[in-house]
Subunit: 289 residues, 2 copies
């Protein structure tokens, strides 16, 4: 089964007021990322789950979804790889966001008085060294911005949350410390998803997913269709193929667009022996700061 | 930097009474797996975290650790890939465990009376269809066997846990339904870890981890050192290389032992251009039912 991307229908422009779904509460890092990507004119729709983001795009309620796919410290967000496969949406853009965590308390709270810190488990893990030095109790929460809301509702000056500066401002809370992450090389890569493909322009990337017959050298052969055409692979990720024990779907990002002849030829070559192949989309490579 | 495995020191035999650390409470799937792997004579040491399992082995408190590395439905347990790299332990065995979930209530509880179900989030997700049909509220817990303990302590006949039949028996609780997972192809692959390598025997697998210079075709070149020697790769996994943006450690499992000439040659070849290479261990391939 092979599904190649349909022809491009529109050119992506970011000056239109785009409705964009994201997972989390207002003030989430995903929301900060989508405003960077789509511009301040975008209208952000908070969703409870990643599934709900995909559903909002599929149903036409919003034009775009904006999902984290990979963090430079924690690794891939595998749920979203699975959802890309389960849904018929296409990838139309990527964005890298620098993640900088703040310790956020109630108005008037003091850093010395903090005894408990709550946030998403990944944010807590990224500030582990700081929190150990602070000697506080940690409590996992549903998400970063949501933990700021919880602390505001609790009104306890000895409880603080970890989230973005934007979340603190949005909920009228106080930033007690900034840049508290143990490693400053903390970036999250997001994908923009839509119902229809866009024109990726001259400096494009393409995301594909495929599975292979379970035989020796199969993945090497799959990678050779790109290597033999000098196509650079920027990412490879494997996910279990449910129902087939210890077989995998492979997700690959490559430099180039499906409009380029050598990419077209490589994918045609791969489809000759892949058990399954789907192009998730071609999109402009992120070239921000 | 290249670290090849030291020579083998001992032959693994499972008739000795082995002390083995695992993550979770007594009755956890990891504990069931280690008794299958090491025999009923093994002495199981419960640990709070995967970090604690590695520490128990490193310190010599136990001879072996037993860690889940991959589930056929959920994918890899990335924390353990990271810990394999951060610790100096070696992989000395692998084991596949069939995971079959039970709904477990207090003694005398009835299935019709269950309103709330608690367990590890992954167990809850694997029984999602069953729980939806049951129409119950779900509550995440620290681990599967631990959730049985919690339900016992609570003593509420409308609350049930999801765990193994063994956990129900161990805590004197009642199995209300068995095999409630949505997909029966539910297996977890475990690795046995130790301070020193063992003799892997004639049908071996080898796990390695390496990183590459960030240049086009680098991963293809790495895979070619195995393909050109007809060495079968059974698994590939990537994890972020912290401190280098969008670069990765690659974890590969291959068929063969580091004692075989062609594997030795392939690894020597890889070390010519890998930025980092470490052999995590050669061990007997799992050949159970």
């Amino acid at each position: 089964m092979v599904g190649l991307a349909p022809p491009f229908r529109e050119k992506e422009t970011h000056d239109q007021k785009m409705n964009v779904a994201f997972q989390g509460e207002h003030g989430a890092y995903s929301e900060a990322g989508l405003f960077e990507h789509f511009g301040d004119g975008a209208v952000a729709l908070p969703c409870e789950s990643f599934d709900a983001v995909f559903a909002a795009v599929s149903s036409g309620r919003v034009e775009r979804g904006f999902i984290p796919i990979e963090n430079s410290l924690a690794g891939s967000i595998h749920r979203n790889y699975d959802l890309l496969l389960q849904n018929e949406l296409v990838v139309v853009g990527e964005h890298n966001l620098r993640v900088s965590h703040c310790l956020i308390g109630t108005p008037g709270a003091r850093l010395e008085g903090i005894r408990t810190v709550t946030s998403h488990p990944q944010a807590l893990a990224q500030c582990e060294g700081y929190l150990k030095r602070l000697g506080v109790k940690i409590e996992p929460a549903y998400d970063t911005a949501g933990s700021v809301k919880l602390v505001r509702e609790g009104g306890n000056p000895s409880v603080a949350a970890i989230a973005s500066r934007r979340a603190a401002e949005l909920y009228g809370m106080q930033v007690l410390a900034e840049g508290i992450e143990d490693n400053p090389a903390n970036y999250t890569r997001f994908l923009a998803i839509a119902c229809h493909p866009v024109e990726p322009g001259p400096d494009a990337k393409t995301s594909i997913v495929f599975s292979l017959e379970n035989r020796p050298g199969a993945l090497y052969r799959a990678m050779s269709v790109f290597a033999l055409r000098d196509i650079d692979l920027t990412k490879i990720e494997s996910r279990p193929l449910v129902g087939k024990l210890w077989e995998y779907f492979f997700y690959i990002d490559l430099a180039g667009s499906v409009e380029e002849t050598r990419v077209k030829n490589a994918l045609a070559n791969l489809s000759e022996f892949a058990a399954f192949l789907r192009v998730l989309g071609s999109y402009p490579r992120y070239r921000g700061g």
